[in-house]
Amino acid sequence: MSWRDGIVLSLRSVVRRPARTALTIAAVALGTGLLVALASIAVIAETRVIAQLGKGGPATAITVDANVVDPAQIDSDTPRLGTAKPINAETLRSVKQLPHVSTVTTVQSQDVYVLPPPIGSALSGYTGDDPDRGLARPYSDSAIGIDFKQANNLPITVLAGRLPAEGSTSEVAVTLGYFDHVHLDPNKPAAVLGQVIEIGSPQVSPDGQTIRGRWSRGVIIGVVAQDLGSGGLVTSSTLTNAQRAWQLAGGDGNSFGLPLPASTYSSLVVVADSLDTIHTVRSEITALGFATTAPEHLIASVQRYLQVVDMVLGAIGVIALLIAALGITNALLAAVRERRREIGVLKAIGAHDRDVLRWFLVEALICGVSGGLIGTAFGIATIAVVSHIVNDYLVSQGLLGVDLGGAPVATSLIGVAGAAVLALIAAAWPALRAARLPAREAVGAL
């Protein structure tokens, strides 16, 4: 029998029993969909959450501190810091030239005073720390200044609102610590959006006797979680540069606990070009004399856990596929029972065993590929939903969100191909049984 005739015969046979075919395809689709979803989630967890973040990598970035390294702490993810060592333009240039460095982003930290509303604007229901007058108490804090165009390379997550515009001196973001100062519920981060706060940069008089402030107003445009440094405000580097220049224009404020900042940058955030090179890059930075922090051991632990997760998810997927395979086998066995006479007739007019085998295998292949395609689409949709839920959950917990993206192309292709192979394996026994039926079965039709 020609392949063309075999395929036509199989296609027609598939549509002859639409309900059974639909159920068989549905079983394959469910199994494939589950496997694709689980495999994709496992792969995504492996490659995106760890490796991709390692590349673009807020969670796996190396933070270079403006301190010397403590030799006893080199192998620690978060070593104890040694004495101060300024990070300047020369340091920045040196780090950028290191091999395996993907991006280097500067971070500035500037001492500020913060005056919450209602000084800046009215806040409904706010009583503040001074209930008699309804005033909030100013507090000292640090403003973290960054280049918002590089935000994707920094460990910073928007919990509500958005990040300030790059270069803006009137938009600020606050961390959840701000809520303690204004006595609001941090579980409702959007409540502070739109508030106007006043930010004061201190300047000590040249004689070191008085402090005066350079005040500016900022609209809280976003609430963020960040791991850039200790500081409740996140602003553009334009603003912190101005604040720093103002402070440097004054005297040293050691007596007030406000010494002039010695380091141009409080830290650098370095992203290695891959997860495997984090240790190398970190060692090179250490060789430059700077202390670094990086979650190397955490990543290794997470990878081990992910392998366990892979195994568990894989086992669940395989069980789903086995159930799908049983569905195919059962459907084809029923088909063989039904078509004994047809098989006999086919053999009586000259069909070889291989022709009958091909008839059933192609039929199974059609179900397998159809189910595989539908299942893969289902799996991809599942990933999209899961990704959305996971991201929402992480953000709601004040953690960094991750871009899970879609199913990896390879996983999707393997899903379809796997379903096809599964269908062939599942069909092997019924198809062989059909092929071995004696031609005498045709006599039942005589």
């Binding site: 020609s2 015969l9 046979s13 086919l346 009586a348 007019i349 070889h352 065993d353 005498r440």
Partner: protein, 239 residues
């Protein structure tokens, strides 16, 4: 060699010492108990006998549908005993044509596709298959029904499609078991007319199993089976 000698004598089918039983050991049921006969090439033989006499079994053995355990069958120069499964399939596709009482058409295929399938099994190329299928369907008067599926055809039309399929690969031996068993008298007559005409046109040998005297009356020879044996008084008797 029996096959060569028989062919030289104009014999299409030679059966010698043919025995057959179903089951094994104590449960074995003998069906054929030693048959010896020849069928002339181009003849039309009616195989008759009561139910259980072994007619269908004999037809199955002649058609290579089941293995021969005892005795010999030669179809032309082909000795059926000892042929492997694949060789039997080749034999069925190139030498034998079957016509079944219940037509045996694949209901997922159209009339033309049913005929083309048989040609495909015989290894005929696609273009030739299409042309020959149309020709043979025209021969049986079903050109306008070629695109219909079996369930859209009457019983008589289905049987004519089955005849077209059986004769499409130009077999030497056409085996038919109660070809009119499911047809009304008018349809039966028409089917028998077509069968006889095409047999003559193709020059093939026809063996028809029938209970119907009308069908048997058209045969050139009759074989009468009774309890697995040929009834001696009727062997080879011209119709």
């Amino acid at each position: 060699m029996l096959g060569s000698d028989a062919v030289a004598r104009g014999v299409a089918v030679s059966v010698r010492g043919l025995q057959h039983e179903y089951g094994r050991g104590r449960h074995a049921v003998p069906v054929l108990r030693g048959l010896d006969f020849d069928i002339e090439a181009g003849s039309h033989v009616a195989l008759q006998g009561p139910s259980g006499a072994g007619k269908s079994t004999l037809l199955s053995l002649l058609g290579g549908l089941e293995p021969i355990r005892e005795g010999e069958i030669w179809i032309g120069e082909t000795r059926l005993r000892g042929l492997r499964r694949g060789e039997l399939a080749e034999y069925r596709s190139r030498v034998i044509g079957f016509v079944f009482q219940h037509f045996g058409l694949l209901d997922v295929l159209t009339a033309r596709e049913n005929v083309m399938l048989a040609l495909s099994l015989a290894g005929i190329p696609l273009q030739q298959r299409m042309r020959r299928a149309d020709e043979i369907l025209d021969d049986v008067g079903l050109t306008d029904r070629a695109g219909h599926r079996p369930q859209q055809l009457s019983g008589g039309e289905q049987q004519r499609v089955a005849i077209a399929r059986a004769l499409s690969s130009r077999p030497h031996l056409l085996l038919a078991d109660e070809p009119t068993g499911n047809l009304d008298e008018e349809s039966a007559e028409r089917v028998l007319d077509v069968l006889e005409r095409l047999r003559v046109d193709n020059g093939c040998t026809l063996v028809v199993v029938t209970h119907n005297p009308m069908v048997a009356a058209r045969a050139t020879h009759r074989l009468h089976l009774r309890e697995g044996r040929l009834a001696p008084e009727l062997v080879g008797e011209p119709a």
